[in-house]
Symmetry: C2
DNA sequence: GAAATTTATTTCAAGCATAAAATATTTGGG
DNA sequence: CCCAAATATTTTATGCTTGAAATAAATTTC
């Protein structure tokens, strides 16, 4: 683990920043640029092809993985978004007939959300198309670069997981 | 340039996807995960330390680079967001006294947005602190990994720039 | 030079996202 | 049992974001 993050070069004036710091900032700005570009492309395709949105796709994806359904709180922590946010997205998906809320035995506070049959069918189709879009948007990414990218980003992610010190 | 993106292995059933396609999807999901995590951390810091937001920071950053100011349309294309979006953010920054709108000579449709003196001063301070936050969040990222990341993401970005075919 | 088109910006409606407050229910002492 | 604390979820207020429509001014075309 890098422990140098707060150590300053004594030769450096306090209003300047190190080269490594600038390299990391550039890396972050590049991540941001790519993720916004790709997200924008995917959002547009979702809207035009399916009349839907990425957040709804994400909720359905999480539920597709756990066929028994999930609680609202499980959903919001799996997707790393706020509780209130999930409430709204689930509401819309219920209206569309993609999801149902099922009461939980012995806990009247909670409810479990599940894909309907229609929701499952729709998602299965959309997921395949979605993977095709992503593969096309990333068609210049070789297998080895994909692996390198994943490795590097995992290190970054794990460093920032939980442990708010 | 990879031209294979639409070629399917004839041995593969049409409802399955290739390994490279799955690797690219994993890479994309990892990018998304990291960028959301980091963006969340930075948003919180911005709010707590400066009572401000990332979109406002981004607008001020763009204007800091071009001291003569920018038109609304220049701003929105530099930040790659919609015109209407910029209108709202600029409105708030004007209210805060960070920005001014200056009419353009010979074109009464347009206006130029500039940082005020206070805006310039505030941004200079915030930018340094911001760089420190980023460097800390990415403190596990070595110089060589930062370079590798930037190189890989640049290829992805350039492939998706403009040329909507 | 009037009409049609293009360009620059704003407004609008809808959805996404957060933080904080509110509501409802369950659980854990005393 | 009662009540305080914890838990699950929704509601509210605010801001960001988009796409589309509206407004206004400049440019082009006839």
């Amino acid at each position: 683990m890098n422990m140098d993050k707060t150590v300053r070069d004594p030769d450096m004036p306090p209003n300047e920043t190190s080269d490594i710091s600038k390299a990391r900032l550039r890396a972050w700005l590049q991540i941001l640029k790519v993720s916004r570009k790709i997200e924008g492309e995917l959002r547009e395709k979702m809207r035009l092809e399916f009349g839907s949105t990425l957040p709804r796709f994400d909720v359905m994806a999480a539920l597709y993985r756990s066929r028994d359904g999930m609680r609202m709180s499980e959903l919001s922590s799996a997707l790393m978004v706020s509780n209130g946010n999930v409430t709204g997205i689930v509401d819309r998906l219920v209206t569309e007939g993609m999801l149902v809320r099922v009461p939980v035995e012995n806990d009247r506070r909670a409810s479990i959300v599940r894909l309907t049959e229609a929701g499952e069918k729709d998602f299965a189709e959309r997921a395949l198309v979605h993977e095709g879009w992503v593969s096309e948007l990333f068609s210049d990414l070789s297998a080895s670069d994909a692996d390198a990218l994943i490795r590097i980003l995992r290190t970054v992610y794990h460093h920032n997981e939980a442990h708010h010190d």
